[in-house]
Symmetry: C2
C-alpha cells in the first residue's frame, strides 16, 4: 500500500490539511475554521475521521502527521502563546495528534516547515545549505545547515525578521525598534510607499489616506512604472539585500529562496535585491550565492512543508 | 599505549605545535618561525621528526594531525590566499600532513578550531548550541549548532566580524564599510578611544598622537577610572551587545563565549556588553542566554583547538 503523510497547517483564520505522498503530491485536501476549535484537543479527532475515510478511498497507509503552526516549537511539540490563535498558553498539539493517530507526529513553526518543504518538494532539492525567507505580513525564515533545519537551543532559531537593522527605527510589536520585518514585508513596503508619497506629493498623500492601498496594489503601480511605487520597491530591496548579505556571514548558504506575497512581485523585488546583496556582500562570497524564487506554490507550501517534517523524521 | 594528537597552529610570525591527549593536556609543545618555511611542503617533514622523537619519549601513539590556520578551509584542507603568511595562492597543507604522517589530518581556520577547542577542553563541554567569538586584531567566530561547527557551503561560514553594522561606516580591509570588527576588536576600541578623546580633549588628542596607545593601555586606563577609556569600553560593548543580540536570531545559541585580548578586560567588557545584549534582545530570548569568558587559556587555545579537530573526527 502506498504511504503518505497528513500535513496540517494551522492559521489564524483557517486550518488546512492534506494527504501528501513522498513525491509531494497532495492527494486530497480540506480545511476547517480555526474558530471552530476553541478547544484544540478536539482537532485531532476530527482530522482522524477525515483521514481514515480518505485514506481508505485512496488505498493509502498513513505514516505520520506533520503540523506547521505559528509559535510551534519543534522540541516540545507545543504551540506557545500564539497571538493570533484562539488557544491560550501552551498547547501540546503534537501529543494530541500522536495519541489520536497512534503515529509519529512532528510540529514546528510555519516558516521552518515551509523551508523544509522547499528541500523535499521545491527548488532546494539536493541543496544542503540554504536560507528560506517568507515575505508576508512578517518576515519568517528557515535556515538549513548541512541538510538540517537549524532549531538552536530551544527551537527558536531563525527569527531573521527580528534582526535589528535600524537603530531607533520603526516600532515592532515584539517591543523593540528597527526589526527587519518592519521594513521588509507587505506592511513594510506599504509604510515605505506612504513615506515617499508624503515627501514627494503631500497633497496626494493626504487624499489617499482615506483608502490606503496594500502591497499588491503597490506591485501593480510599480508594474505601471509609478515612480513612488518603484522607489518603495528599491528602498525595501536595499534593506533586504543588506540583511541577506549579513545573513550569509553566519551560515554561508549556497542559495537563498524568497517565498510569499512580496516575493511574487518577480523582478520588481528580485533585481534590486540581488543588486543590493552583491553590493554589500563580503568579497569572498560575491557572485557565488543565488537568490531565487521558492519552487513551492503559495497555496501548497504550508501543507507540503508540514508533511515534509515527517518525511524528514523517517529519513533518520 | 596512550593516544594523542598533534595540534598545529599556523600564525603570521610563528608556527606552534603540541601533542595533546584526549583530556586536553598539552604533553609537550614547541614552535618554529613561519618565515623559516617559505615552502610549506617542508613543514610536515620537520614536525614529523619532532613528533616521532617526542612520542617515543612519552610512549604516545599519535592518531592524527589537526591544523588551525588563517584562511584555512575545512572542506578542501587548503590554506587559501592568506594575506599574513608567506604562502601564495592555495596551499594543500592537509594533504602534505596526511602524506607525511600517514594519519588522519584536518584543517580549518583558527577561530573555528578554537571554537571546537572550547567544546572539548573549555567551558562549552556538553553545550550543543553556542557562539564562540574571538576579539583580537579582528573579530573571528565559530558557530556551533547541534554539537557541530557550522561550515556552510564552502567552509566560509562564521564571518561574524564582517557583518555590516554601520552603513557607510569605517573602512574595512575587506573592501566594504562598517564591518563589525572595525568597531569590536583591539584596533576598534583604540579608534573609539581616540575619537572620544578628540571630541572631549582636543589638546591631549593632538599631543598623544605621537605615541599612540594600544588596547591593553586603554584597559589599564579604564581600570584607573579614566573617563574616556571607560566610554570607549561602553561604546564598543554597546555595538557588540547589539551584534550578539542580532546573532541570536539566526542560530539561537544557549551560550556565547568571548575569547581573546579584549575579552580579558573582564567586567569592563562583559558588564556593558551584557547590558546592551539584554536591551537589544528579542523578548523570547531575554534572560536565557549567558555571555561567558572562554574557558581556554590564551596561550593554549590555538593548539587545543587544532587538536580537537581530530578528536571531533574520531567521534564520528
Amino acid at each position: 500500500m502506498k504511504q503518505a503523510v497528513l500535513g496540517v497547517d494551522i492559521g489564524g483564520t483557517g486550518i488546512k490539511f492534506g494527504i501528501v505522498d513522498r513525491d509531494g503530491n497532495i492527494l486530497i485536501t480540506d480545511k476547517v475554521k480555526t474558530k471552530g476549535y476553541p478547544d484544540p484537543e478536539k482537532l485531532p479527532g476530527d482530522l482522524f475521521k477525515w483521514s481514515a475515510t480518505e485514506c481508505e478511498k485512496l488505498s493509502i497507509e498513513l505514516v505520520g502527521v506533520g503540523i506547521g503552526s505559528p509559535n510551534g516549537n519543534y522540541f516540545t511539540g507545543t504551540v506557545d502563546y500564539p497571538p493570533n490563535l484562539p488557544w491560550k498558553g501552551i498547547t501540546p498539539l503534537e501529543e494530541y495528534f500522536k495519541k489520536q493517530f497512534n503515529l509519529p507526529a512532528a510540529l514546528t513553526n510555519d516558516a521552518k516547515a515551509a523551508a523544509l518543504g522547499e528541500m523535499f518538494f521545491g527548488a532546494a532539492k539536493g541543496c544542503l545549505n540554504y536560507l528560506f525567507i517568507t515575505l508576508g505580513t512578517g518576515l519568517g525564515a528557515g535556515i538549513i545547515v548541512n541538510g538540517n533545519l537549524v532549531y538552536g537551543h530551544d527551537s527558536m532559531a531563525g527569527e531573521v525578521g527580528h534582526v535589528i537593522v535600524v537603530r531607533n527605527g520603526r516600532q515592532c510589536p515584539c517591543g523593540r525598534q528597527g526589526c527587519l520585518e518592519q521594513y521588509v514585508s507587505a506592511p513594510g513596503i506599504v509604510k515605505k510607499y506612504y513615506g515617499i508619497l508624503r515627501r514627494k506629493n503631500l497633497e496626494k498623500f493626504r487624499t489617499s489616506l482615506g483608502s490606503m492601498i496594500d502591497s499588491a496594489t503597490i506591485c501593480e503601480l510599480a508594474l505601471e512604472k509609478d515612480e513612488i511605487a518603484l522607489e518603495a520597491y528599491k528602498k525595501t530591496s536595499d534593506i533586504l539585500g543588506l540583511a541577506l548579505a549579513n545573513s550569509v556571514c553566519y551560515t554561508r548558504p549556497e542559495k537563498i529562496f524568497l517565498f510569499g506575497g512580496l516575493a511574487q512581485s518577480g523582478d520588481l523585488i528580485f533585481e534590486p535585491t540581488k543588486e543590493s546583496f552583491e553590493k554589500y556582500l563580503m568579497p569572498i562570497y560575491k557572485n557565488k550565492i543565488s537568490i531565487l524564487p521558492s519552487g513551492l506554490k503559495e497555496s501548497e507550501a504550508a501543507i507540503l512543508g508540514s508533511a515534509s517534517l515527517i518525511w524528514k523524521e523517517l529519513e533518520k
